[in-house]
Amino acid sequence: MQERLQVLVLDDEPIVGKRLQPALAKVGCDVEVFDAPGQALQRVGEKRFDIVVTDIRMEDIDGIEVLEKVLERWPKTKVIMITGYATVEVAREAIAKGAFDFIAKPFKPQELRDVIARAAEALGFAGVDRAAADDSV
């Protein structure tokens, strides 16, 4: 059977999720999009995602906390942080806390797809569609 990558995207700006959803679905991911951290965490409690993509700077719960909660519940999940307000300190903290990777906004969907492909590889998903990620050598 074909295993599809389960991806959760969390960003308090709904436009981000709206844009990422099709971009990731194209490469064979099942994407769920949230713009409220609370709801997203609740969903994480119910279902195991392979990859969680989260913004860092959000209103009530920040991305670092989401990272911690997700990893607490599913230690194998790969968490990718995206943010427009990256600093060395936050990036390093996220990495120290087990984030898989860190992307600064603005980024192209391809950048995220590349990181997701790597995460999938690390998870042992051999069959991730890399067709759209073909612009790497």
């Binding site: 192209k108 950048e111 590349d114 990181v115 492909a117 790597r118 990620a133 612009d135 790497s136 050598v137």
Partner: protein, 366 residues
């Protein structure tokens, strides 16, 4: 034709001597324009003239002896050479050069034993294959990078994934290089050194791999990478040249003729980089490289036939050769012509915008 000695050295006539000078000029322009050496044009050009591949490579490497020396001294003065990195790269590169020259020398003496002047065919085929293989990759890489960076304003680099992948590998021991301000796995450095040395020794195009590898794999600043590469080429290329000379595979006459054209060419090409947009530089370079590759690929069947691997009528050799030569010259003349036109046009434009544009804003004086 028929060589004077050993079969590899051709008799020089005024016509083919002039062609070699022209090859040198085009190679020089391309090399000055792209900063990566013009061997990708000169070597196949000489092979099309009937020079044995190994001798073409040897003569070409010898012609770079002086240039590399002066170039690296200049870079060293400007502080654009990471000496530590260069030394770490030179050691494996020298070993690889020796191996590459040894392979080339051995293959030359492999007699294919089939009809039709098979001597050197194996060697020619080998050189051509390495040439085609490496330069296809390089050409596509450059072209795609150029095309992509044209529409993306802040391109992230040709392939951040490779960079990230390499960065993700953890291969101790790590070595820190102070001038370039990078920390790289020793294994990676040795690997790059070996590849560059091998390519320098086999087809004299190590720079094509060395510079991008340093920039994208090691994270060396773009100002330091070419200087360090030249430093490396000074030793690697020098050793290759002398090794080929020892084996009797350098035709000094060709070297001299190449020099006659290439040094003027380099000046023209370097001037070109000042007035031409970078994207265009890459487009020209990528296209010329790919055309050179195609031209070389057209010559492959001839060698295969000489070795007896494929069979077709020997008179077809001439057709393949002509096709290959025409394509190569079309690439060279097209590329160089375009650069020359751009240079002249830019020069005229610069003469025209002579006066400084002055705009005063009196409204703000008070």
């Amino acid at each position: 034709m028929g060589g004077l000695f050993g079969g590899g050295f051709m008799a020089l006539t005024w016509v083919n001597a002039m062609i070699v000078v022209f090859l040198g000029f085009v190679g020089g322009v391309l090399s000055g324009f792209t900063g990566s050496g013009g061997a990708f044009f000169m070597t196949p050009g000489m092979m099309n003239l009937g020079v044995t591949g190994v001798v073409a490579v040897g003569s070409n490497v010898a012609h770079r002896l002086g240039n590399n020396l002066m170039g690296s001294l200049k870079h060293a003065k400007l502080g654009n050479v990471d000496k530590k990195l260069a030394i770490f790269l030179v050691v494996p590169a020298l070993i690889a050069v020796r191996v590459a020259v040894w392979i080339n020398g051995r293959l030359l003496h492999v007699s294919s034993g089939h009809e039709g002047g098979g001597e050197g065919a194996v060697s020619n085929l080998y050189i051509s294959l390495v040439f085609v293989g490496v330069l296809t990759a390089v050409g596509i890489f450059i072209l795609r990078d150029a095309l992509r960076s044209r529409d993306a304003k802040e391109a992230e680099g040709p392939s951040m994934r490779v960079v990230n992948f390499v960065a993700g590998l953890h291969l101790p021991p790590y070595v820190t290089f102070p001038v370039a301000d990078v920390r790289v796995s020793l294994w990676l450095v040795v690997l790059v050194g070996l590849v560059v040395g091998y390519l320098d020794g086999t087809v004299a195009i190590g720079g094509f791999v060395g510079v991008p590898a340093m920039i994208y794999l090691f994270g060396v600043p773009t100002s330091v990478a070419p200087g360090t590469e030249l430093f490396l080429a000074m030793f690697g290329g020098g050793l290759a040249a002398l090794s080929y000379a020892y084996q009797g595979l350098v035709d000094l006459r060709l070297t001299f003729l190449l020099l006659l054209g290439s040094i003027v060419g380099v000046y023209v090409g370097t001037y070109g980089t000042k007035v031409v947009k970078e994207v265009l530089i890459r487009l020209v370079m990528g296209s010329v490289i790919l055309l050179c590759v195609l031209s070389r690929a057209l010559a492959l069947p001839v060698y295969l036939r000489q070795m007896g691997v494929v069979r077709f009528a020997p008179y077809l050799d001439a057709w393949f050769n002509v096709g290959s030569t025409v394509m190569l010259f079309a690439a060279g003349i097209g590329g160089t012509g375009l650069i020359l036109i751009l240079v002249v046009r830019a020069h005229i434009a610069q003469l025209r915008i002579h006066s400084t544009l002055q705009v005063s804003d009196p409204g703000l004086d008070s």
